[in-house]
């Protein structure tokens, strides 16, 4: 082909000369990552130090894995670890399929105004702070004065309030339910855009072949968004060790301490409140390492199963 001879292998710095504008534009994002994401990683070394806040990370004494040993020997650590994994797993099982179903349902809606209103209402909880949601949860689920229990008690369906917030397993249920409600609408966005990307001809072909609505969804829509589902699943698995601080902190209470204490609240207590930054950093590093292992593992398995992973 004639084009082939025209493509020259880049020699020396000619590639810079050719595309220098693009590289100049790249400086900003690269600098952002270097300054705000990579440079702070240096601070991880305080996880291995007896950190002295006046001497800083260059002047503090190196003590090896002592911080890790100390934190992991605290009786609260295994409890927090177990709760983190359990609540995240529950969240994944209950919360992962919901946005997919919801996105498909939204996609099937014909009335545009109705669709827009539903979407807005579904997105709304995502923008509420957990502090506000915590107040709402209290109003709804309180032992005898919450809306649900007060109503059921009044109707005589129950003679003792359901301990949504005060009994461990009930609390786990409430926590998961509220989480699904809060995030399901937001989660539909990626799936909806993936559905929009499916070739309409496939639907038309399926219709001509006599596929009904359910069959179209099963044979066209779902396979069409499968790559999106897989990528999101891998990313979610990688987050198994990470849990937000505000949600368990706001929804939890001392009565369910053994169920609501998670790594983030544990770090806050054992690390930040006593200015034990080195120990807090040690737990953070531990979480990241496990997260890294999980995400790599999930990616590996997906690729073995013949799907495209995230790298």
């Amino acid at each position: 082909m004639s084009g082939e001879t025209r493509v020259k292998k880049p020699r020396g710095l000619s590639w810079i000369r050719r595309d220098w504008r693009l590289y100049v534009m790249l400086i900003l994002p690269v600098a952002f990552y270097l300054i705000f994401c990579y440079k702070p990683m240096l601070g991880l070394m305080i996880a291995f130090q007896k950190f002295n806040m006046f001497k800083g990370m260059w002047g503090s004494k190196f003590i090896g894995l002592e911080n890790f040993r100390f934190v992991m020997n605290m009786p609260d650590f295994p409890v927090a670890l177990r709760n983190t994994l359990f609540l995240n797993l529950m969240g994944l099982i209950a919360g992962f399929p919901v946005p997919i179903v919801l996105a498909i349902m939204l996609n099937e809606l014909h009335s545009v105004p109705f669709k827009k209103v539903s979407q807005t209402l579904l997105y709304l909880p995502h923008f509420l702070s957990w502090i506000i949601i915590g107040g709402m949860v209290l109003q709804i689920f309180s032992p005898s004065t919450g809306i649900i229990n007060a109503t059921l008690l009044k109707w005589g369906w129950i003679d003792k309030g359901i301990p949504f917030l005060t009994d461990g397993p009930h609390w786990q249920f409430t926590y998961t339910l509220v989480g699904v409600w809060q995030s399901m609408g937001w989660g539909t966005i990626l799936y909806l855009s993936a559905i929009t990307g499916i070739n309409m001809e496939l639907f038309e072909a399926a219709k001509i072949d006599g596929a009904n609505k359910m069959q179209q969804i099963w044979h066209v829509t779902l396979p069409g968004i499968r790559p999106t589902i897989v990528v999101l699943l891998i990313l979610n698995v990688g987050q198994m060790m990470n849990i937000s601080f505000d949600r368990p902190y706001v929804l939890g209470n001392p009565m369910v301490q053994n169920y609501c204490d998670v790594l983030s609240t544990f770090v806050y207590r054992a690390g930040i409140t006593n200015s034990q930054f080195a120990r807090a950093t040690a737990i953070g590093l531990f979480q990241s390492v496990v997260g890294m292992i999980l995400i790599t593992g999930a990616n590996l398995i997906t690729r073995k199963l013949g799907e495209e992973g995230i790298w």
Partner: protein, 530 residues
Amino acid sequence: MKKALAILLSLALLLGLAGSAFAEDDWITLRVETYDREIAGLDVTNCWQLHYAQEHFGDPNHIKLEFVSYARWTEGDLLTVALAGGTAPDICLTYNGGLVQQAIDDEGIWQLDDLLNEYGPNLKAFLGEELLGYGQSDHDGDGVKEQWYIPARRISRANVGNFIREDWLKALNMEKPTNIEEFTKYLRDAKAANLGGTTTTPFAFGIYAPDPLYNVRRFTDAWVDFSQVSEEDWFAYARNPEMLPGSKEGFRWLNTLYHEGIIPDTFALTDNDQANDTALIMGYNGFFSQQPDQPWRTDKNYEIEMEKNVEGAHWVTVNPFKNESLGGKTLHDIYAPAGLSIIIPLTTDEKTAIAAIKYMDWMAQPENMFMMQNGLEGINYTGLTEDGIPYGVKSADDVPNENKMHAGDICFISNGLCYGDDAKNNAALALPFAGYEDDVVASYEDALTDAWTQISFTVSIQAETDFGATVKSAQGKFLADVVSADPEKFDEVYDAGLQDILNSGAQQMIDEFRQAYKDGNYRGVYPGNL
């Protein structure tokens, strides 16, 4: 003539400023931490007190004062970051004792003995030797204690305020309870009569998460059997009142109240906040326990707000928690005489450190302190009583912005208004609460009855740094569990809870406290000695 003089003076001032710009090393800047409580209209970095201090202290000494504002409720975190980053003010204030201890251990602050001796005679006189002792510890281990921080002087040390509804007592035809039995009867009768409507929960009770048993021991200490608690035990269990022999029955009492609906079933869900405040001012509760002046405070005025909602409602102090093993004493804990801690970080140079001490020394002089705490007659208060105490103190809303002030935060060497002697100071406590003076005085009297000073230690307790927070969280769980436990399983739950607390690090703390007591490194009062 006047005008000409004014022009001349301003010219002189301008020239003076210009002159100072040339001779810069003559002037130094002193950065002072100042709490910001977000009082509307008060800019703490540019307030009347700053201008007053600049004029009367700064200008004559060639020191430029600068107030650095830190949000009051996150001051500890903010200061930690600033200290670690080397950007802390020259005078740092904090209520976070752990942070101060850390700063001493990490050797990041000035040792103040020489500076105080040379530049702070008025300050030392104002604080006194006993109080200064709180800021001293032997860091280098040579057997001599050094001065590491300056403790502010706490004027009023009362901490406990127990309040009961006078109108409920009338409705029940009862006298004010004087012991636990009568008090319990009051609670039960109030519940039975639904005096606060269908949502009556006579005992306002919640869990204060940062320190769950701090307020609860006011009740449970009444059950402690002091014949089984030696002075050493008292200090060893400094942070563990639930471990004191006898207190178990106090927790059982709370458990009973919970199952009778006297304590709200949401007590563990709300963190001492809004929901509880609402219940109090709506008149659902018949008893609550907070600070001695709490019902009349301007920020949470339970008295006036409740009166608006409930006709004739009225809070009065009550003192029923008699300890039989102490011959019927009603124990009340009081604060140590030391208030917030003042430190000077090592990032401050010597010249500025001297200026810092000089500033506090100036502040400690009675006439300066009076101005810094009270402001101007006719603007911040109406006039002076015979004793020289301001009356008709204006609320912040009624003072023009340029004269708004916060006495305690900016005149930080004194926690509370100081007028010279205790009698005057106590009389002054009730003055801001016009119409309720007698109630306030009675409340303070109760709060200082059989008072024991809270425990503190003069050495760094490593176990408390390591486990303090986890122990408190275990205590929160313990409190929630024992109060709500099935009465038949109470003993089981109680014992398991104690074990959990011990496992969470309390055992190490108790051992270390005990050692500190044996070494004489403690402060506070053992109620058996009262």
